[in-house]
């Protein structure tokens, strides 16, 4: 059995992978079979008939089972009497194809003529015009003339909102079902459907709220006509006027590759402005999908509230505008005065270059620098460095034989595209195990679901590891093996089946979040995961290992640059007199931080907006958004990826690295570097993991398959091509030739005592200080709430919708209670960043008080 078969296309023989779709197989060898409904990421349906070809198979003699031969000894080809749809065929040995014969050409012409009978041909006002597969294929294969009467065209609604983000033009739709299939197959959200039959067939949204999915924007990309458009872009520019700039999403650890389509705009002062955000193909990262947060969350980059000039407190305590040199001097003076009494915090939206310059500044300030990262919700950067997932891992390669464990994370809310990829892996036959304290959406696709109490998290992982240690273990030479073995000797094996499943997996990937865990507990959980991976031998190779669901785009980069969540916790425990905060809205997100800043002597903040943190500061420095400058982010799979300046600069804002470098220069450091690339060179020399990387190498790219969005637009991708770089991954220690593994016993958390714990959770569409600026997304952001288990609620006398006061560590928060069966007992789930009020980074004990309504409504 070989893995390839030979097929003949237009008289030429080709070797193609067995079982491949015929359209893809032809495309692999540069032969275009035009399609509308087929999309390489979706299952074929054969609805549009555009891909018609003449197809023949080798005739088999029924009696002998051998191919029939003609007089010359050549195999006899049995042709199908009619044209066949190539998209619904997979290749088989000896298949013969004609894609250019008269019959095929005529077939295509007829299909296009039919499609255009109902099409409005309003290309001049259509957003797809210029990058439209229907236009392109009509030009390439169309008949040039129609026998139908223009006036008999069907007239349908042209302005149908499918929710508030996507508009449908019913006339333009060619009923290919790509959009509905995307929602059904790829996302699994039952939100779009066909309604009616025949000529009246039309797309409708069947969910309430309409088009209720986190991935709606992707349908506009794959729609082969201009039937679906986004509210964000509608009429923003013509595609040929746009300049595509490669960038990286600043929101979550997936690190989706984006194209910012930019154009100069009068209302933006004639500067280049982001008109739309599109996915950029990276089969190793986001394939061709992005979530709506990444797509519509770019408005903060040019919001009218952006800070435009440095601000410093004057004698009477007001923040007033000053010049840059004055603030550099003032900060340097403060840093010198405070010596090692300074603390530094870098945000997850800061680039590696920003963080590096912040670190250099911290080092110049004396003492051993205290470098905290934000959000400080997850520990374990060292564990990731050891057993992080193997290089060249592709989530889309996970299938039968692979097991994916997702733990302590509301996965879709925290890493939407990973969620999507894991869901598809499950569809392909991978086994998904979900472990969390409460049900999440991924449970639907799970082979096993484990619901634990928050304090049992470590125990769950231990119970997977324990049975593997009972024998001698082939990895018995690892550091700390004996200690682990004796520690887990008597561990309770609570989930034997799941443990078996994990142990026997060919590939095992663990996604680990930190829901409901303090930093110390999370450090233990990460180690417990490392123990499991090492003991079961799932490390050091592709598609095996740990993927942390970090709480931000560049948290991995922050760890690499020497920042840590532990340092943030230490800064809180022993507050410094002087804080230097890069980008993060610490006071707006965490009540403990807000208190710490109030008590600080001096606070320096780089910020895009007047956040609560900036309001606390003595010096506020306007920082540039990710859209205006170059840099690199490192995603959760440790892939270092470049982004490029897309948008014109705003005010006097500067990139963070420049600000920190100028202050360093004032402190006697070297002259500030001129470009982000120079800093990266510095990083690559001093940070071991980044050795060998530079901006040129990060920008490498290669042809990717499926080729969607190349010069030919058969698959109808818009802005998919990746010319900005596929990025480089640094290898985990487990991938070394002779890896040194160390396992150690982990402490399980003390069981929860009575009382309630406030558990901060993530929601995707939050009101974080950047995403909040995308006003078109406000309707997708939940109202602030705190979620209770029915038993707890009954005990507290709460019903759904009551107003409650949560008291935690001397602070009070007022929110609306939500009571639901899914909420774990003993916990109050409080989404972060949903209101203007600060919440917590990590769980803490809390008390709840119902607010009795003041007035009784008289009946």
């Amino acid at each position: 059995m070989t893995d390839t078969v030979t097929i003949t296309i237009d008289g030429q023989d080709f070797e193609v992978p067995k079982g491949m779709n015929l359209v893809d197989a032809a495309k692999l060898h540069g032969i275009g079979i035009p399609v509308f409904c087929y999309h390489p990421k979706l299952d074929p349906v054969g609805m549009c008939r555009m891909c018609l070809v003449e197809l023949g198979n080798v005739a088999i003699d029924r009696t002998t089972g051998a191919p029939e031969l003609d007089e010359q000894g050549n195999p006899v080809i049995r042709w199908f009497p009619k044209l066949q749809t190539a998209c619904t065929q997979t290749v088989s040995q000896g298949m013969v194809l004609r894609t250019t014969s008269d019959m095929v050409v005529e077939g295509r012409e007829n299909i296009l003529e039919f499609l255009l009978t109902s099409h409005p041909l309003d290309c001049p006002v259509c957003d797809k015009g210029g990058e439209c597969p229907l236009q392109n294929l009509t030009m390439a294969y169309g008949p040039g003339e129609s026998r139908f009467i223009y006036d008999d065209k069907i007239r349908l609604a042209k302005h149908v909102p499918l929710g508030k983000l996507i508009y449908l033009d019913r006339e333009r739709c060619i009923q290919c079902a790509r959009c509905t299939r995307f929602c059904d197959e790829i996302v699994g959200d039952d939100v779009l459907a066909f309604h009616e039959r025949g000529r009246r067939l039309q797309i409708v949204t069947i969910s309430d709220p309409p088009f209720d999915t986190k991935f709606s924007g992707n349908t506009t990309d794959i729609c082969p006509v201009g039937a679906l458009t986004t509210t964000d872009f509608r009429f923003g520019a013509r595609p040929w006027e746009l300049t595509e700039v490669s960038t990286i999403c600043p929101y979550c650890p997936v690190g989706c590759n984006l194209n910012a389509s930019t154009r100069m705009d009068r209302e933006f002062g004639g500067k280049a402005m982001i008109k739309r955000i599109m996915p950029r193909q990276n089969e190793r990262v986001n394939e061709i999908w992005i979530c709506d947060k990444g797509r519509f969350g770019h408005h903060h980059s040019r919001h009218e509230e952006r800070l435009l000039a440095p601000l410093m407190r004057n004698k009477s305590g007001e923040l007033v505008e000053v010049e840059w040199p004055a603030v550099y001097k003032a900060i340097a003076k403060q840093l010198k005065a405070h010596g090692d009494q300074a603390g530094f915090v870098g945000d997850s939206t800061l680039s590696n270059e920003d963080l590096w310059e912040l670190r250099r500044l911290a080092e110049l300030s004396g003492g051993s620098p205290r470098l905290g990262l934000w959000p400080a919700t997850m520990s374990g950067g060292d564990v990731v460095a050891q057993v992080g997932v193997g290089s060249e891992t592709r989530l889309q390669d996970l299938g039968p034989g692979s097991v994916i464990l997702v733990m302590a994370s509301d996965f879709e809310e925290e890493a939407p595209i990973w969620w999507l990829q894991v869901k598809q892996a499950a569809d392909r036959g991978a086994k998904v195990v979900v472990a969390n304290a409460r049900p999440t959406k991924l449970d639907r696709y799970a082979s096993a679901v484990i619901h634990y109490r928050y304090d049992e998290a470590v125990g769950v992982l231990n119970s997977f590891t324990a049975p593997l240690l009972s024998g001698d273990g082939q990895l018995g030479q690892g550091n700390g093996w004996g200690a682990l073995q004796s520690d887990l000797q008597n561990a309770e094996v609570t989930h034997a089946d799941t443990a078996n499943l994990l142990a026997s997996a060919e590939n095992l990937v663990i996604f680990l979040g930190s829901e409901g865990l303090t930093l110390e507990q999370h450090a233990e959980l990460m180690q417990a995961a490392a123990n499991l991976l090492i003991v079961s031998g799932h490390v050091g190779r592709p598609n095996n290992g740990l993927i942390p669901v970090w709480p931000g785009a560049n948290v991995q980069g922050a760890w690499d640059m020497g920042f840590s969540a532990e340092a943030t916790a230490d800064l809180l425990a022993n507050p410094p007199a002087l804080w230097v905060i890069g980008g993060a809205d610490v006071a707006g997100e965490d009540i403990r931080m807000a208190t710490a800043l109030e008590q600080a002597e001096f606070v320096v903040v780089t910020a895009q907006f007047m956040t609560p943190t900036a309001a606390h500061a003595d010096i506020v420095l306007p920082r540039q958004s990710f859209a205006e400058r170059a840099g690199t982010y490192t995603n959760g799979l440790r892939r270092v990826q470049r982004f490029y300046p897309a948008q014109g600069p705003i005010g006097d804002a500067l990139p963070d690295w420049k600000i920190f470098a100028h202050v360093s220069a004032q402190m006697g450091g070297p002259r500030p570097p001129v470009a982000a690339g120079t800093i990266f060179r510095d990083i690559a020399q001093r940070v071991e993991r980044y050795i060998g990387m530079d901006y040129t190498r990060l920008a490498w790219f290669e042809p990717q398959f499926p080729d969607v969005g190349g010069d030919d637009l058969y698959y109808g991708g818009t802005a998919y091509s990746n010319y900005g770089g596929l990025g480089l991954q640094w290898p985990a220690e487990a991938e070394a030739e002779q890896p040194q593994f160390s396992v150690r016993p982990v402490r399980t958390a003390a069981p929860q005592t009575d009382g309630l714990t406030l558990v901060p959770v993530w929601v995707l569409f939050d009101r974080g200080h950047l995403f909040e600026k995308s006003e078109l997304m406000h309707h997708r952001m939940p109202q602030p709430y705190a979620a209770f288990n029915p038993d707890d609620a009954a005990r507290l006398g709460l019903t759904d919708g009551d107003r409650v006061t949560l008291a935690v560590e001397g602070h009070e928060l007022t929110v609306t209670a939500q009571v639901g069966d899914d909420n774990p007992a003993g916990a109050v789930l409080l989404p972060r960043r949903l209101s203007g009020d600060a919440t917590l980074s990590t769980p803490a004990a809390c008390t709840v008080q119902k607010i009795e309504s003041m007035q009784k409504v008289e009946g």
Partner: protein, 164 residues
């Protein structure tokens, strides 16, 4: 002899009527199809013909046209259909008056008219904005933006008849 013949020609022309036109006191009428400065046209009801499709800008060999589009609503309608030109500028010192924009326009909104008196003291003045290019509202029509009846102006491109 040749000399005399030559001077005779000169003397003859001295008494002929001069062909010089004393611009600007005097103006020569232009031909019907003369291509001068552009005008943006309106429909009789005052709605703008331009739908902001940028095809003129795409056709322009001199890159003289700049269009930015935006969305119409029935509360504020500039043109029929969903799209109108929020910004429309032509740089007259870039323009070579070839008329390609006129050919490209799907709604016959941009027309090169007969105005040719174009001179500027500053390059910036040569950029004609939409206000300067658009025709006045025809009698009986209304200025844009208009409040219009929902469902009436749903199509950008006027109905076309099949050729007979």
């Amino acid at each position: 002899m040749n000399l005399i013949r030559g001077f005779a020609t000169t003397i003859k022309h001295v008494f002929e009527e001069p062909v010089t036109i004393q611009f600007p006191e005097e103006e020569r009428p232009v031909r019907e199809r003369f291509k001068g400065r552009h005008a943006l046209k309106r429909y009789d009801n005052g709605l703008e013909k331009c739908i902001g499709c940028s095809l003129c800008a795409a056709a322009c060999p001199a890159d003289a046209i700049w269009v930015e589009a935006a969305e119409n609503s029935d509360e504020a309608r500039y043109s029929p259909g969903e799209r109108y030109a929020r910004t429309y500028e032509i740089n007259m010192i870039r323009c070579i008056f070839c008329g390609y924009c006129e050919d490209a326009c799907p709604t016959e909104a941009i027309v090169l008219e007969h105005e040719y008196r174009l001179s500027f003291n500053d390059r910036v003045d040569a950029v004609y904005t939409k206000d300067m290019l658009i025709d006045p509202v025809p009698p009986g029509g209304q200025d844009t933006p208009q409040v219009t009846e929902p469902g009436k102006f749903t199509r950008s491109i006027p109905e076309m008849k099949d050729p007979d």
